[in-house]
């Protein structure tokens, strides 16, 4: 049984299909990045997991149960959904006290989580005076209040300065190391690339790909650009080796799936002259953008 399991999850808001047959799982001790552009369906999926939005079809379970079935849900799941979810005239400590009372948690947890997110000194300040970054920290404190085994975080890095982002990264890695399952959404892959073990990429409510970061890195392969007067001959030879070639002009090819060295050796073996041979490595971000915006990505012949 996975910590988080989503199967065939669908949500329709009137004519808009926000989430379309989504399935994925998150295991304990791992961080799954939930990626997609704005409007991809990430937040709606998380809200369905947390029982805040009723699915049109499919199931979303936590430790094998729907959120509504969990006894003491804050001890199972901690969530950060919106940085604005605070009463401005309530102090940070009081916000957490309210959550602790509602969740049936020990009062000592309030001080523990304030300390963990570095807000002890600001605990008696009203949240209305908090920066966005401090609100994110307070949201994380509330998520950690029940010492849950599962964390669901919707763009928790929003509003954090670079130091805050690093702090968040270290916190999440530490939480996963403690055996917790973490689902973290973002629309910026680079923001969470150093934190996640695997990613789920969504676009228009559908799962585009689910892969480990290593698999995604492999996909972020380099493009070898070649200029040769015998491009068709070289293309045939490289295709036979499993490469994917795209004509980029009369005497130019863009080749993926092989290294520049392989292209050079193939050309030399056939006596094909090369006027240019360069390798252009694409980034994880390019892969992400290519997956979620195929029109803007590379075409493969």
């Amino acid at each position: 049984m996975s910590a988080i399991e989503v199967s065939g999850l669908t949500k329709r808001f009137g004519p808009v299909l926000a989430v379309d047959g989504l399935s994925f799982a998150v295991e304990g001790g791992t961080v799954l990045g939930f990626l997609g552009p704005n409007g991809a369906g990430k937040t709606t999926t998380m809200r369905m997991l947390l029982g805040l939005v009723e699915p049109s079809a499919g199931t979303a379970t936590i430790d094998g149960q729907s959120y509504h079935q969990l006894t003491d849900p804050l001890r199972h799941v901690g969530a950060v959904l919106e940085a604005s979810g605070f009463y401005p005239s309530r102090t940070a400590r009081d916000h957490l006290r309210v959550q602790a009372v509602a969740g049936g948690l020990e009062r000592s947890r309030v001080e523990a989580v304030l300390d963990r997110v570095g807000l002890t000194d600001a605990a008696d300040r009203r949240v209305g005076g908090f920066s966005l970054g401090m609100r994110q920290r307070l949201g994380l404190a509330a998520a950690l209040l029940g010492d849950p085994g599962i964390l669901i975080l919707d763009e928790p890095a929003n509003g954090l300065d670079p130091e805050g982002v690093r702090w968040l990264r270290e916190l999440l890695v530490g939480l996963a190391a403690e055996g917790r399952a973490v689902l973290i959404s973002s629309h910026i892959l680079a923001e969470i690339a150093q934190t996640v073990n695997s990613v789920c990429i969504l676009d228009h409510g559908r799962l585009v790909t689910q892969a480990t970061l290593d698999q995604l890195t492999q996909d972020a392969r380099s493009v070898v650009r070649v200029r040769t007067p015998r491009s068709q001959e070289l293309r045939d030879a490289l295709t036979a080796q499993g490469a994917v070639c795209r004509a980029a002009g009369d005497d130019r090819l863009e080749v993926t799936g092989v290294r520049a060295e392989d292209v050079g050796l193939a050309a030399a073996g056939l006596g094909i002259p090369l006027f240019e041979l360069t390798s252009d490595a694409s980034s994880l971000e390019d892969v992400f953008i290519g997956l979620t915006n195929p029109a803007g990505g590379r075409e493969e012949a």
């Binding site: 809200r47 029982g51 799941v77 604005s84 009463y87 009081d94 006290r97 509602a102 969740g103």
Partner: protein, 255 residues
């Protein structure tokens, strides 16, 4: 249920709005009392304000708790709609996913805190009338039992209206719209409907709540409901609104 009640109580204790409304209820009641005092005994061709020396004049001041009722209603509205306004509904429902339980806890806590509005307003009116009488050298013409019943009625009315407000705040998630709506209902819609349908006026919820305070002058020449009937009617309206809110709130998405 205990957890939900304790959490709602703590929510009220840790923000300023409910206490601001409570203070406003006391202040506005005092202003109304001072206005009634200044007008007592004044007469014109159409309206004659009874003098403070008589039971009618004293009743007019003792029952000047109307605005406390309205503010208790508004307080109830803010308890529920404030969760949507400030986005705290999400964290509330993450801790207690049973929305019916949350709504019930809000209504109960709103009612309990609402009682203090009526109690405070009654203390203001009763205290004021005793001070005015002492200052003028008049004697109290009202039976103490009547003053106690009017005070208890105002307290009960505030509690019931606050519970109804909590249901309205859950039904209408826009806080501004909900507050404007209940104020318009109490100050404009009911008086207008009462003028159009005088025989039905005592059965309107806000008018019935006012009648619990001992207020009799509704301007329609129609007798108000008996105490228990009025209390049952207002309680029924609060319960009905709560039921509608429960039926509509539970399946609604929290976006």
């Amino acid at each position: 249920m205990g957890r939900a009640l304790r959490a709602e109580l703590l929510k009220i204790r840790t923000i300023r709005m409910p206490f601001g409304l409570l203070a406003s209820a006391a202040l506005v009641t005092l202003l109304v009392v001072l206005l009634e005092y200044s007008r007592s005994g004044a007469g014109g061709r159409r309206i004659v304000v009874p003098p403070l020396s008589g039971a009618s004049g004293q009743t007019l001041i003792v029952t000047s708790t109307e605005f406390a009722l309205l503010l208790a209603l508004v307080m109830g509205v803010t308890i529920s709609s404030g969760e949507f306004r400030h986005g705290t509904a999400t964290s509330t429902l993450l801790a207690i996913p049973d929305r019916a339980r949350v709504l019930a806890a809000k209504a109960i806590v709103a009612a309990a805190f609402g009682l203090t509005f009526g109690l405070l307003a009654s203390l203001v009116t009763d205290g004021a009338v005793l001070l005015f009488l002492a200052a003028k050298g008049f004697t109290l013409q009202l039976p103490v039992a009547t003053m106690i019943q009017d005070g208890a009625g105002a307290t009960l009315a505030c509690g019931l209206l606050a519970a109804a407000g909590a249901a309205v705040g859950s039904l209408i998630r826009s806080q501004l719209a909900a507050i404007v709506g209940v104020l318009l209902w109490g100050l404009v819609a009911e008086p207008s409907l009462g003028a159009l349908f005088p025989t039905g006026a005592p059965y309107f919820p806000y008018t019935a709540a006012r009648s619990l305070t001992g207020a009799t002058a509704f301007g329609h020449g129609v007798a108000s409901l008996p105490f228990l009937a009025a209390a049952a009617l207002v309680a029924g309206v609060a319960a009905g609104l709560g039921l509608v809110a429960w039926k509509t709130t539970v399946p609604r998405d929290i976006a």
